[in-house]
Amino acid sequence: MIRSDNGYFGEFGGRFVPEILLPALTELEDLFFGLRDDPDFWEEYVTLCQEFSGRPTPLTPLRRLSKQLGGAQIWLKREDLNHSGAHKINNVLGQGLLVQRMGKQRVIAETGAGQHGLATAIMAARLGLEATIYMGAEDIERQYSNVFWMRQLGSNVVGVTTGAQTLKEALDEALRDWAASVETTHYVLGTACGPAPFPELVSYFQSIISDEIKEQSQRQMGRLPDEIVACVGGGSNAMGAFGAFLEDHEVALVGVEAGGLSLEDGKHSVRLSHNTGETGIAQGYKTLFLQNDDGQLGDTHSIAAGLDYVGVSPILAYLSQQGRVIPESATDDEVTEAFSLLMKTEGIIPALESAHGLAGGFKRAREMRPDQNVVINLSGRGDKDIFNIARAFPQREWTEFLQREAARSTELLAQKRGH
């Protein structure tokens, strides 16, 4: 895995946080630096992922689809089969091991769509930790199903009502909580962003994905893949899929961002390509942000709530600046098309986030030769967010079902009160 130069990757990264958070970050960094080269620690982590989350996840060949597209052989790295339904759990389990070593009894996390919050709630339940999850009130409103699960898991979900009430504000609010609780609380950051050592630490745990891809591609293809494609929100699944291949220059690494509705301001989340992102310093680190001339962070849009983020991993900002990672983007329409194509041709329901990787990967595979191999990181499954997907594919039957279900639910509540 890539290593930072004192928290920096080229010009990106760093640790721009209120002084009060510094000791916790240093403590975490010291702990992490002390463990990351310890094979026993890695083994402990791999065992945990195996026994709790079912790793290794398979590398699934898409035989029918590859034939249909007529280009390279396409393989999916099946992070959707993880416990909780996405790669997010890898990082969270790893941080759980650190929490236990630090002896802290409480964790906090920010979450946008809810996937990282859910993963954190799961880890907290499993380890017996108290958990508070910050989530924008607007996100809660739209992603209540994840909130439902987090609460069932025993987590305290706090709606953030400042600003636009979405992920960015939730992250700010989690930092505020942390500033007040840093001595007893660990902040489980959910992606390869934020102040050092988070980008490096999250990438380290997620690199279990590329470790497996490497071994599996040798076994299943007889060599390394020609390309690896991943969607890029904060960048954790991409760094996970790319990590072990950074020195293998024959393997192209492609990150697909959310092209949204268009490249107009506020209609997308493209930070790496198209010169839409500009260097900035916020949320604890320096990277390419969507922002205006005054340095105010911008609005974002994506059909996939998990890609709807204003910053991006400083490591990816650096690697794409260096030309090692090729940035691409996929529009909402391309994404729904790739989503349907995978479902109907291979029987796999992707997360809308991951469908960005599919859209980008399919496009590239089409231009390649049948003796080449493309691995797309399927970062999560789609059935975890039926509400989002139903919004992307409006249908009368679904609307009617929701109406009936709302009525049924009202009745059940009344019965419960009657007890």
Binding site: P18, R176, I281, G284, D294, G295
Partner: protein, 254 residues
């Protein structure tokens, strides 16, 4: 100018540029000056004010809708520094708006506008150090923060890089909640004084006359910000200035 060490307690108060509006900022600052406030932070509103409590977060959100920006802050500074020479104006901002503006330009124009100090909560001392010669040359004092969990070595480093004052974060957490001024706090202050002769500005959780009474004789400056902004939000700038005046009157003098 900045108070000297062991001067009587002064109030530092606050303006979020653009909140409730740019015009109102000028009136509010005039009101604060008239009420006897000697130090005023001019806060550049930011989309992601991580070190602020909800009052200031919401004020930033509003301010951005009403034209708050780096340029608006510099323009306002130009006018209020000239109009209120008895007040020391301090630029408060998160790093990104300044960084996007261009740090060098920004420092020069802030100094030229009459700004005397700078509080940038997400700007770590390591990143400030290289700028010290430039800032010193401009007479623009970086006011750095120490917190209860800052290690002694780091307090040394921070106080060394600070100019004008050291900002003492009173307790764990962000602006706008309650705090305590007991023995633990006094030990904390005493620790900091071991490292610096600069006056200390205590911030986070200074909301009442009782707080001020408790701080008098212990620190040189009390940052009275969130509570003031709440008054301004709820009662308007005029009433807020009156309240500020009343509370300043209660401060015990040595």
């Amino acid at each position: 100018m900045f108070p000297a060490q062991y001067d009587d307690l002064q109030i530092m108060s606050h303006a979020v540029v653009g909140f409730p509006s740019l015009e109102e900022n000028e009136k509010a600052i005039a009101g604060l000056a008239a009420a006897g406030v000697k130090l005023i932070e001019l806060q550049v509103p930011f989309s992601d004010p991580v070190a602020d409590g909800h009052t200031l977060v919401n004020a930033c959100y509003e301010a951005l809708k009403h034209g708050g920006s780096v340029q608006a802050t510099l323009d306002l500074a130009q006018r209020v520094c000239a109009r209120h020479p008895e007040v020391t104006f301090i630029l408060m901002s998160y790093l990104n708006p300044l960084y996007r503006y261009g740090l060098e330009d920004l420092f020069e124009q802030a100094a030229a506008a009459g700004i005397r100090g700078m509080i940038v909560p997400d700007w770590p001392v390591e990143e400030i150090e290289p700028w010290l010669p430039k800032l010193d040359a401009l007479g623009l004092a970086p006011i750095l923060m120490v917190t209860p969990n800052t290690s002694p070595e780091r307090v040394a480093k921070i106080t060394r890089a600070s100019r004008g004052m050291v900002y003492v974060v009173s307790r764990m957490g962000v602006t706008g909640h309650e705090t305590q001024w007991g023995e633990k706090f006094q030990n904390y202050i005493a620790e900091i004084r071991k490292h610096t002769d600069l006056p200390l500005a205590v911030g986070f959780g200074v909301r009442t006359a009782d707080d001020l009474e408790a701080l008098a004789g212990k620190a040189e400056v009390a940052a009275f910000c969130s509570q003031y902004i709440e008054w301004q939000r709820d009662d308007g700038s005029e009433v807020a200035a009156q309240k500020m005046h009343s509370i300043i009157e209660t401060i015990p003098q040595a």
